[in-house]
């Protein structure tokens, strides 16, 4: 039996700071794109980080912490929407205040408008794939559906975006039998 170096409090804190520092900006971005509101996304991201830290014995060994955080963030968003039906209606129909999400001029406005045309699942899948580089399997886990359904959301979402002049090079564009 070989004894290894002593564990220290700093080890965990350093790992946490590193993981959170790398994941947080993209987590906020992804949740902003998925929910349509940067301010809401910041709240969701911080709550997801709190849950990540509170379950450290399990989350410390995750292969893809960003995917886990995105899934938790989406779950929190769904809970929030369920709790406030009126807020949900305002989010899905009218969209959030424009000033909360305009970031890069006309191009970004066009993108936000295009995302608003997608269903919630399509939007979450597109963001997971093209913003967080998640695999379809990870997307399926994040949004709570089957792998084939996640691919269908991606395919349909891309088709909608393409009609609005947005596209990408991805084999997922090709409909699978």
């Amino acid at each position: 039996v070989e004894f290894v170096r002593q564990w220290s409090v700093e080890d965990d804190r350093e790992i946490q700071a590193k993981v959170v520092g790398a994941a947080y900006p993209h987590l906020v971005g992804a949740l902003a794109l998925a929910t349509g509101d940067v301010a809401v996304a910041e709240d969701l991201a911080q709550e997801a980080i709190v849950r990540f830290l509170s379950k450290w014995d399990a989350t410390r060994s995750l292969d893809n912490p960003a995917a886990w955080l995105y899934r938790v963030g989406l779950n929190l968003a769904r809970s929030r929407w369920r709790r406030a039906a009126a807020e949900r209606r305002s989010l899905t129909r009218a969209g959030p205040p424009r000033e909360s999400r305009d970031h890069d001029g006309a191009d970004a406005v066009a993108l936000w408008g295009a995302l608003d045309t997608l269903t919630a699942r399509q939007r979450q899948a597109i963001v997971g794939r093209y913003y967080l580089d998640m695999t379809p399997a990870e997307i399926a886990e994040a949004i709570g559906c089957r792998h084939s359904t996640a691919k269908a959301h991606l395919r349909d979402g891309l088709a909608s975006l393409r009609t609005l002049g947005l596209g990408t090079h991805d084999d997922l564009e090709v409909p699978t039998p």
């Binding site: 039996v1 070989e2 004894f3 290894v4 170096r5 002593q6 564990w7 220290s8 409090v9 965990d12 946490q16 700071a17 959170v20 520092g21 947080y24 900006p25 993209h26 906020v28 971005g29 902003a32 794109l33 940067v38 910041e42 911080q46 980080i49 709190v50 849950r51 830290l53 509170s54 379950k55 450290w56 014995d57 399990a58 410390r60 060994s61 999400r101 970031h103 890069d104 191009d107 970004a108 993108l111 936000w112 597109i126 963001v127 093209y130 913003y131 580089d133 891309l158 975006l161 947005l166 596209g167 990408t168 090079h169």
Partner: protein, 226 residues
């Protein structure tokens, strides 16, 4: 055509200031504390219900048999009290759960068990919140029969022991003429060894070799890992 991925990245600010991690840690910590209190309350309620139910059943059985059976004299038997025995599983150290020891000489001692990985399972030896080091065990890790691996000061301070799988307890002779008994415990996923932990009375020291109490059946556990 600008790639969709690039457009998405341009559409949101990616220079978000990081939140105060210490504040988030505090929130995580207070949440865990609340969950633990809730869990503790639930366990107490379940225990009370169990005890109440058992007493009620026993009372009922006594009443139903007292009429037909003459009263038997009760005989007291000596019950060996483990001075250090595994009390529970639960939070142990820095977000790791593990096996918590209890009793007068086990209080404050625990084995923090990290989630298993391809490299094995890491077990940390924690006394009063201080980590005394750890060891990585494979599923089939073995300690030769009769050999004790100890961590800490086996004469006076908090001590942890790693022994063979068939060892059920350790008897530690003290200079006062009495002895401590430390019950061993197994850790899930580690089949070949068992663990024990104990501390010593402040005015006592170990005076002789530690003896191992074994159960032959404990040694027949087959390691099933590949």
């Amino acid at each position: 055509m600008i790639d969709l991925s690039e457009r998405l990245h341009r559409a949101v600010p990616e220079d978000q200031p990081l939140p105060d991690l210490d504040r988030l840690r505090d929130r995580a910590s207070s949440r865990n504390t609340a969950h633990q209190r809730f869990r503790f309350g639930a366990v107490i309620c379940a225990a009370l219900l169990l005890v109440g139910g058992t007493l009620a059943l026993r009372n009922q059985a006594r009443h139903s048999t007292s009429a037909s059976s003459p009263a038997q004299p009760t005989s007291s038997t000596d019950v060996e009290e483990f001075t250090s025995s595994p009390a529970d599983t639960g939070p142990c150290y820095q977000g790791l759960s593990g096996i918590v020891f209890g009793g007068t000489y086990g209080d404050g001692l625990c084995l923090a068990v990290a989630p298993p990985s391809e490299d094995g399972t890491m077990v940390w030896f924690v006394a009063d919140g201080t980590n005394n080091g750890g060891t990585r065990f494979q599923a089939c890790s073995k300690t030769p029969a009769g050999v004790i691996k100890s961590i800490g000061d086996p004469a006076t301070g908090p001590s942890f022991f790693v022994v063979a799988a068939d060892v059920t307890s350790l008897s530690i002779p003290l200079d006062s003429g009495s002895s401590l008994t430390a019950q061993t415990v197994s850790v899930a996923g580690i089949d070949g060894v068992r663990f024990a932990a104990t501390r010593y009375p402040a005015d006592a020291s170990v005076t002789g070799p530690i003896s191992l109490n074994t159960d032959p059946l404990g040694g027949t556990v087959e390691c099933t890992a590949p």
